[in-house]
Protein backbone atom coordinates (compact mmCIF):
# COMPACT_ATOMS: atom_id res chain seq x y z
CA UNK A 1 0.00 0.00 0.00
CA UNK A 2 2.96 2.36 0.59
CA UNK A 3 3.55 2.47 -3.17
CA UNK A 4 -0.01 3.72 -3.74
CA UNK A 5 0.06 6.15 -0.83
CA UNK A 6 2.70 8.15 -2.68
CA UNK A 7 -0.08 8.97 -5.16
CA UNK A 8 -2.54 10.13 -2.51
CA UNK A 9 -2.59 13.76 -3.69
CA UNK A 10 -2.64 12.82 -7.38
CA UNK A 11 -5.60 10.52 -6.80
CA UNK A 12 -7.45 13.46 -5.22
CA UNK A 13 -6.45 15.70 -8.14
CA UNK A 14 -7.94 13.10 -10.53
CA UNK A 15 -11.07 12.74 -8.37
CA UNK A 16 -10.27 9.17 -7.43
CA UNK A 17 -11.56 8.17 -3.99
CA UNK A 18 -9.85 5.26 -2.28
CA UNK A 19 -10.98 2.65 0.23
CA UNK A 20 -9.10 -0.28 1.71
CA UNK A 21 -10.74 -3.64 2.25
CA UNK A 22 -9.27 -5.63 5.12
CA UNK A 23 -10.11 -8.93 6.74
CA UNK A 24 -8.16 -7.92 9.84
CA UNK A 25 -10.02 -6.89 12.96
CA UNK A 26 -11.05 -3.45 14.16
CA UNK A 27 -8.23 -3.22 16.72
CA UNK A 28 -5.54 -3.90 14.12
CA UNK A 29 -7.21 -1.51 11.68
CA UNK A 30 -7.38 1.34 14.21
CA UNK A 31 -3.79 0.70 15.22
CA UNK A 32 -2.75 0.79 11.56
CA UNK A 33 -4.50 4.14 11.00
CA UNK A 34 -3.00 5.65 14.14
CA UNK A 35 0.50 4.32 13.39
CA UNK A 36 0.64 5.25 9.73
CA UNK A 37 -1.61 8.32 9.50
CA UNK A 38 -3.62 6.65 6.75
CA UNK A 39 -6.49 8.88 5.59
CA UNK A 40 -8.25 6.28 3.42
CA UNK A 41 -11.02 4.37 5.23
CA UNK A 42 -10.34 0.74 6.09
CA UNK A 43 -13.51 -1.28 5.49
CA UNK A 44 -13.75 -4.39 7.63
CA UNK A 45 -14.61 -7.57 5.74
CA UNK A 46 -13.71 -10.28 8.27
CA UNK A 47 -15.47 -13.12 6.46
CA UNK A 48 -13.92 -12.25 3.08
CA UNK A 49 -17.35 -11.69 1.50
CA UNK A 50 -16.18 -8.95 -0.83
CA UNK A 51 -12.73 -10.46 -1.39
CA UNK A 52 -14.64 -13.43 -2.83
CA UNK A 53 -17.19 -11.30 -4.66
CA UNK A 54 -14.36 -9.51 -6.45
CA UNK A 55 -12.43 -12.72 -7.10
CA UNK A 56 -9.43 -11.96 -4.89
CA UNK A 57 -7.38 -15.12 -4.61
CA UNK A 58 -5.81 -17.12 -1.86
CA UNK A 59 -2.36 -18.08 -3.09
CA UNK A 60 -0.27 -21.17 -2.59
CA UNK A 61 2.73 -21.16 -0.26
CA UNK A 62 4.88 -21.12 -3.39
CA UNK A 63 3.25 -17.82 -4.39
CA UNK A 64 4.52 -16.41 -1.10
CA UNK A 65 7.94 -18.00 -1.08
CA UNK A 66 9.17 -18.12 -4.66
CA UNK A 67 12.73 -16.79 -5.15
CA UNK A 68 11.45 -13.62 -6.82
CA UNK A 69 9.07 -12.87 -3.94
CA UNK A 70 11.68 -13.61 -1.28
CA UNK A 71 14.17 -11.38 -3.09
CA UNK A 72 11.63 -8.55 -3.00
CA UNK A 73 11.03 -9.08 0.72
CA UNK A 74 14.79 -9.05 1.27
CA UNK A 75 15.16 -5.82 -0.66
CA UNK A 76 12.33 -4.22 1.32
CA UNK A 77 13.99 -5.19 4.60
CA UNK A 78 17.37 -3.85 3.46
CA UNK A 79 15.54 -0.64 2.52
CA UNK A 80 14.17 -0.37 6.05
CA UNK A 81 10.66 -1.71 5.51
CA UNK A 82 10.35 -4.35 8.20
CA UNK A 83 7.39 -6.73 8.38
CA UNK A 84 4.76 -5.53 10.82
CA UNK A 85 1.94 -7.26 12.65
CA UNK A 86 0.34 -9.99 10.62
CA UNK A 87 -3.32 -10.77 10.21
CA UNK A 88 -4.89 -14.16 10.16
CA UNK A 89 -4.43 -15.18 6.53
CA UNK A 90 -0.93 -14.90 5.12
CA UNK A 91 -1.96 -16.59 1.88
CA UNK A 92 -4.46 -13.92 0.87
CA UNK A 93 -2.97 -12.16 -2.16
CA UNK A 94 -5.48 -9.32 -2.59
CA UNK A 95 -5.74 -7.03 -5.56
CA UNK A 96 -7.15 -3.75 -6.82
CA UNK A 97 -10.42 -2.73 -8.44
CA UNK A 98 -11.11 0.63 -10.06
CA UNK A 99 -14.77 1.59 -10.51
CA UNK A 100 -15.85 4.40 -12.83
CA UNK A 101 -18.34 7.16 -11.91
CA UNK A 102 -21.19 5.11 -13.41
CA UNK A 103 -20.40 2.14 -11.16
CA UNK A 104 -18.74 -0.03 -13.81
CA UNK A 105 -15.49 -1.89 -13.17
CA UNK A 106 -12.68 -0.40 -15.28
CA UNK A 107 -9.72 -2.26 -13.78
CA UNK A 108 -9.79 -5.62 -12.04
CA UNK A 109 -6.30 -6.58 -10.91
CA UNK A 110 -6.11 -9.92 -9.14
CA UNK A 111 -2.63 -10.26 -7.62
CA UNK A 112 -0.51 -13.25 -8.61
CA UNK A 113 1.92 -12.76 -5.72
CA UNK A 114 2.31 -10.40 -2.73
CA UNK A 115 4.15 -7.78 -4.79
CA UNK A 116 1.96 -7.89 -7.89
CA UNK A 117 -0.05 -4.64 -7.88
CA UNK A 118 -0.80 -1.97 -10.49
CA UNK A 119 1.15 1.24 -9.97
CA UNK A 120 -0.49 4.49 -9.03
CA UNK A 121 0.47 5.77 -12.47
CA UNK A 122 -1.41 2.90 -14.16
CA UNK A 123 -4.50 3.59 -12.07
CA UNK A 124 -4.46 7.30 -12.93
CA UNK A 125 -3.96 6.44 -16.61
CA UNK A 126 -7.10 4.27 -16.61
CA UNK A 127 -9.15 6.98 -14.88
CA UNK A 128 -7.74 9.73 -17.10
CA UNK A 129 -8.62 7.78 -20.23
CA UNK A 130 -12.31 8.08 -19.46
CA UNK A 131 -12.40 11.53 -17.91
Amino acid sequence: MSQLRRFEKEFVDHEIRTVIFSFDNEVLAKDYVQTTGLTWPILLDPDFSFYRAYGMPKGSWWDLASPVVLAKYGWNMVSGSLPGKRGKDLRQLGGNVLVDPDGLVELNHVSANPHDRPSGRQIIAVASGKN
Partner: protein, 40 residues
Amino acid sequence: MSLVGKPAVDFELPDAFGSVHRLSDYRGQWLLMIFHRHLG
Protein backbone atom coordinates in the same frame (compact mmCIF):
# COMPACT_ATOMS: atom_id res chain seq x y z
CA MET B 1 -12.96 -14.14 -14.50
CA SER B 2 -12.50 -10.44 -15.14
CA LEU B 3 -15.19 -8.08 -13.94
CA VAL B 4 -14.13 -5.31 -16.32
CA GLY B 5 -17.12 -3.65 -17.92
CA LYS B 6 -19.54 -5.12 -15.41
CA PRO B 7 -21.35 -3.28 -12.62
CA ALA B 8 -19.31 -3.24 -9.42
CA VAL B 9 -20.56 -5.55 -6.69
CA ASP B 10 -22.45 -3.49 -4.15
CA PHE B 11 -21.01 -3.39 -0.65
CA GLU B 12 -22.02 -2.06 2.72
CA LEU B 13 -19.30 -2.35 5.36
CA PRO B 14 -18.20 -0.52 8.51
CA ASP B 15 -14.81 1.11 8.63
CA ALA B 16 -12.40 0.84 11.55
CA PHE B 17 -14.20 3.66 13.38
CA GLY B 18 -17.75 2.43 12.86
CA SER B 19 -18.87 4.54 9.88
CA VAL B 20 -20.72 2.52 7.26
CA HIS B 21 -19.58 2.80 3.63
CA ARG B 22 -21.66 1.77 0.62
CA LEU B 23 -20.75 1.59 -3.05
CA SER B 24 -23.53 4.07 -3.74
CA ASP B 25 -21.75 6.65 -1.54
CA TYR B 26 -19.11 6.87 -4.26
CA ARG B 27 -21.39 7.08 -7.28
CA GLY B 28 -20.31 9.88 -9.63
CA GLN B 29 -16.65 9.53 -8.65
CA TRP B 30 -13.87 7.13 -9.47
CA LEU B 31 -13.37 4.63 -6.69
CA LEU B 32 -10.18 2.66 -6.11
CA MET B 33 -10.74 -0.39 -3.94
CA ILE B 34 -7.57 -1.88 -2.49
CA PHE B 35 -8.00 -5.45 -1.24
CA HIS B 36 -5.24 -5.56 1.29
CA ARG B 37 -3.28 -8.71 2.09
CA HIS B 38 -2.94 -7.87 5.76
CA LEU B 39 -2.37 -4.78 7.82
CA GLY B 40 1.14 -4.23 9.09
